[in-house]
């Protein structure tokens, strides 16, 4: 390799490193902050695990945390069920109606969150549904279904259409054929779609902000409320915990996807 090439590679690595520093600096800051004895940021008062302990005694934070998790679990599960059924239905639709429903599915993805948020708020208020956990849940399901559908759809399209017929040919009833062959084949799409929906729900602020009512807080809305008064250090601790957890989840999704990708590739090469 010429000197010039080595230098070019050095510059490229430096550039990649800079972007990574930019992306991770605030996160490290937050994690460091969660171990900081001093309540004021930018001032190091010594190492402590105290915030991680007091976190679990802070009823408000724990309540918001519980709401957030409950929302994420229920909304992603509901989205997975409705979304999977929708994919099967859509795959059998005529071209025109499939395109129409796909366009509708794309709306929450492409629309600005603030517009989605206010539109749902208007709907709930007009229908005189009291804003609270229920309305936030409905809103989260709304933006989660598209993630599920768009994750399963490509898998469903790649599916060998004869697999279902092969199962019938071998004596399976239509229901057996679906649960024994089609469902396992699209399972990775369902898993990654569900996990994506889960994390989207976990992190959503804007849509929750417009559809929540008095007394109902999630972690993001609680943080937003605290920003002006100064964020409680417990929040840093909790976020650090969530971050590590989600990081773990994401690595799992990645492995599932990579595993099935390798499987497919091996099949293609053979």
């Amino acid at each position: 390799m010429t000197n010039e090439k080595v230098r070019a590679r050095g510059w490229k690595r430096f550039y990649i490193a800079l972007i990574f520093i930019f992306m991770y600096a605030p996160i490290f800051l937050l994690i460091i902050q969660s171990f900081n004895k001093s309540k004021s940021r930018g001032h190091w008062g010594g190492f402590t695990l105290g915030w991680y302990v007091s976190l679990f005694h802070d009823a408000d934070v724990m309540k918001a945390f519980g709401n957030t998790i409950l929302l994420a679990v229920i909304s992603s599960l509901v989205a997975v069920v409705i979304g999977t059924m929708a994919v099967i239905a859509m795959s059998r639709m005529k071209m025109k109606s499939r395109q129409l429903w796909l366009a509708v599915t794309n709306v929450p993805m492409l629309n600005a969150d603030i517009v989605t948020g206010v539109s749902l708020m208007l709907l709930f208020i007009t229908l005189r549904i009291e804003l609270g956990f229920g309305t936030v849940l409905l809103a989260h399901i709304t933006f989660n279904i598209p993630y599920v559908i768009l994750n399963i759809l490509p898998r469903y399209r790649e599916l060998n259409p004869h697999i279902y017929e092969a199962a019938l040919d071998l004596g399976a009833t239509p229901a057996q054929a679906f649960f024994k062959t089609v469902l396992p084949e699209i399972a990775p799409g369902i898993t990654s779609g569900g996990l994506m929906a889960f994390t989207m729900s976990l992190d959503d602020f804007i849509i929750t902000h417009f559809t929540t009512g008095a007394g109902m807080a999630t972690l993001p809305t609680k943080i937003y409320a605290e920003v002006k008064l100064g964020i409680k250090p417990e929040m840093y601790a909790l976020s650090a915990i969530i971050f590590v957890t989600v990081l773990f989840l994401l690595m799992m999704v990645n492995r599932v996807q990579e595993g099935s990708e390798n499987k497919r590739k091996a099949g293609e090469e053979a």
Binding site: K12, Y15, I16, I19, F20, M23, Y24, P26, I27, L29, L30, Q33, R41, G42, I82, M85, A86, I88, A89, M90, R92, W101, V104, T105, V107, L110, N111, A112, D113, I114, V115, V118, S119, M121, L122, L123, I125, T126, L138, T142, I145, L168, P174, T199, D203, F205, F210, L219, P220, I223, Y224, V227, I231, M235, S239, I242, F243, L247, M251, E258
Partner: protein, 276 residues
């Protein structure tokens, strides 16, 4: 499958779609219609253009103009940062680059408000950068609560939305297409301008819309890094709904945003079609 079972499974499949169809109509289609409805009526339900026209009020038009300016700036910075990054990433070995791309998404899973808030402690008057500058006996900089800080916040939050589509479109390019261009006599620069960049266009366009729309409509970044002094159109709409409780004006302004959104969707669908 014979006709009877075929029609039967098709009917079953039709029923499977029903929950989503009902859900989508109630929670996606109708709410959007309601925004338009509220946007074009007054409190007594009569048709009016005054809600949408309120965008022309000096404070509102200023907020919109600032939003457009800052979001265009943020989108441009994202594009300029992302494109070379993606080129470099695609060049690296397979397992390394899939790890690196994943690491670029990971920050998105730290609560985005906290991350943006963390920039406060970096940029503020007694923040990390200014502390460092003081230690070096250099004059301090005013960074927090400036439009620059807001652009930085936007870039920081939305950069992955630009990186991922560009990376995907660059990664899809068949290496032999590039080899063919070189074989036919194009130098590195010509290959880039005439082959690589055009082939990556769908990714670029999708990246631009995915950054521009959230940047244009944000109210969180501006309230966290603008110190409440810099109002974007997102802040104006948010206040109409949560402080002024004027849903008609809020919806009217949202309709203005919808125009931008529709335009960007149309542009990205067109380039997507061309790609296909």
């Amino acid at each position: 499958m014979n006709k009877k079972t075929k029609t039967r499974t098709n009917t079953i499949a039709g029923f499977l779609g029903l929950p989503y169809e009902v859900y989508a109509v109630i929670f996606i289609v109708i709410p959007l219609i309601m925004v338009v409805w509220y946007g074009f009526t007054d409190a007594s339900g009569h048709f009016t253009l005054s809600n949408v026209a309120s965008i022309a009020q000096p404070s509102n038009i200023k907020a919109l103009w600032l939003s457009v300016l800052l979001s265009v700036g943020a989108t441009a910075v994202c594009l300029l940062l992302s494109y070379p990054l993606c080129m470099f990433l695609v060049e690296t070995e397979k397992h390394a680059n899939s790890f690196l791309t994943m690491m670029l998404i990971v920050p998105m899973w730290m609560n985005f408000m906290l991350r943006t808030y963390a920039w406060q402690s970096i940029l503020e008057k007694t923040g990390i950068i200014n502390t460092a500058l003081t230690a070096l006996r250099l004059p301090t900089l005013r960074m927090i609560n400036t439009p620059g800080a807001i652009i930085l916040g936007m870039v920081y939050n939305f950069l992955p939305f630009m990186i991922l589509p560009i990376y995907n479109s660059l990664e899809k390019i068949d290496k032999n297409v590039i080899n063919a261009a070189r074989d036919l006599g194009a130098d590195a620069r010509q290959t880039f301008i005439r082959v690589i960049f055009p082939l990556s266009m769908p990714g670029v366009v999708s990246g631009i819309t995915m950054v521009f729309i959230p940047a244009l409509t944000t109210f969180v970044v501006s309230s966290l890094l603008g110190g409440g002094k810099i109002l974007l159109i997102g802040n104006v709409i948010e206040q109409e709904f949560t402080l002024a409780y004027d849903w008609h004006v809020g919806s009217g302004l949202s309709c203005v945003l919808l125009i931008f959104i529709v335009i960007s969707i149309v542009i990205s669908t067109i380039t997507d079609k061309e790609d296909a």
